[in-house]
């Protein structure tokens, strides 16, 4: 059993240089990069991978890649996946790094134990299984990193895109940016209603300049927000409707049942009029501050 276990470790010990060179060359052939900087990076990674593989193989845990002996290897693969996600590698490119070690490794193995078909078969199977597991682990790490990136972006998007601004005493404005889906509508609605309560505003201007398209679903969400605000005693004015969107609304036969203005300026003027305020021109405009 002992000799079986250490065939891999011995092999790497004996042929580290050759293995690395062949592996890197193989990766280059498989469509890897020919940039010198990348190549040096790959070589360094390959060297570290083989070292960890040897250390892992020297322990008695060849069949169990979950064992603590493999922890450094797992860390290495996690780092690798993270880097490759950030550099925009595809999952198969990332996994290919690990899987491509098989070719030079098995070639060496065949040379070493040429006369012993039994050992050759057993060792090939064990190594193949080990490398497969490591490869799968790499893909998992890759996916996990990707998911983290996506989750973080989603969160940032939610936080970014729902400010409620007090434009004037008693006038709130809600500049919507991006498409309205149900979860965003919920957040937008809640923050708007909370602000209506705290500020006692009677008019809310919903500006949809930043909403790329208005389809029936988005309109539905807008209507919900507007009716909820109305139930709280605040009237809504819709502003920032682009010509294209006006056409879409009519073509889709949407009935928004709300006062709408083309620009935020018009909406503000109307809101001020409704709250009984007027804007007048000064006879001599004030000088800008130095």
């Amino acid at each position: 059993m002992t000799e079986h276990r250490n065939v891999l470790a011995l092999l790497i010990d004996k042929h580290l240089q050759r293995l690395t060179a062949e592996w890197v060359a193989g990766q280059k052939r498989e469509g890897g990069t020919s940039e010198p900087r990348r190549e040096a990076e790959t070589r360094e990674l390959a060297r570290r991978f083989l070292e960890e593989l040897r250390r892992g193989a020297q322990s008695s845990q060849l069949d169990n890649s979950e064992a603590p002996e493999w922890q450094p290897m797992r860390d290495l693969l996690e780092d690798l996946s993270r880097d490759r996600v950030l550099q925009g590698f595809s999952p198969s490119e990332t996994a290919m790094f690990v899987f491509s070690v098989k070719e030079p490794l098995f070639a060496l193995l065949r040379e070493e134990v040429r006369d012993d078909a039994d050992t050759l078969a057993t060792e090939t199977w064990r190594m193949s299984r080990l490398i497969d597991r490591l490869g799968l682990f790499t893909i998992e790490a890759y996916t996990k990193t990707r998911e983290q990136v996506i989750a973080r972006q989603q969160q940032e998007l939610l936080e970014l895109s729902t400010p409620v601004v007090e434009l004037w005493d008693g006038i709130l404005t809600l500049p919507l940016i991006g498409t309205l889906d149900s979860s965003r509508t919920q957040i937008v609605m809640e923050s708007l209603l909370e602000r209506i309560v705290t500020s006692g505003a009677e008019i809310a201007i919903i500006d949809i300049t930043g909403v790329p398209t208005v389809d029936t679903l988005v309109a539905q969400h807008l209507i919900k927000t507007i009716s909820a605000a109305r139930l709280m005693g605040a009237d809504c004015i819709l502003s920032g409707i682009r010509p294209q969107i006006a056409q879409t609304i009519v073509h889709l036969g949407l009935e928004l049942n709300v006062v709408s203005k083309a620009t935020m300026a018009d909406a503000l003027a109307l809101a001020l009029r409704r709250t009984g305020k007027v804007i007048t021109e000064r006879k001599s405009p004030a000088l800008p501050a130095e």
Partner: protein
């Protein structure tokens, strides 16, 4: 059975609902209210629901009914003090209470009624911009 008090403020009536509504209570309230509108010659009715944490379709319909009845008697109805969570629930249920005017609190409700009574023609114009 608990009775919902109806308070008179000038020519407005204030109803504050603070207990769970059920059929009999709603009927009694509609009876009392219509009678008081006629007796006091009230021009406005304010219904305060700030104490309600749950407003279901039953209460929604009752509010609509009261508004319609008041309108027939030439009084304007304003629902005041709805909580944000209640507003969201009602909208999700598809109950926009379109027949009812709303205001944030009693203060603003009173001002709204004043405004509507003072210039009845501009009311619709105001809503439609």
């Amino acid at each position: 059975m608990a009775e919902i008090p109806i308070l008179k403020i000038g020519d407005c009536l204030l109803v504050s609902i603070q207990v769970d509504m059920h059929d009999r209570l709603a009927m009694a309230l509609q009876d009392d209210l219509t009678e008081r509108i006629v007796a006091d010659r009230a021009r406005g009715v304010m219904i305060d629901i700030s104490a309600l944490e749950i407003v279901d379709s039953f209460i929604g319909r009752m509010l609509n009914n009261i508004a319609a009845m008041s309108r027939v008697l030439d009084a304007v109805t304003v629902v005041v003090g709805m909580r944000p969570a209640v507003a969201i629930t009602l909208v999700e249920l598809g109950l926009g209470l379109t027949g009812v005017r709303t205001a944030l609190n009693v203060d603003k409700g009173l001002a709204l009624i004043r405004r509507i009574i003072d210039n009845p023609e501009s009311d619709d114009a105001h809503r439609n911009g």
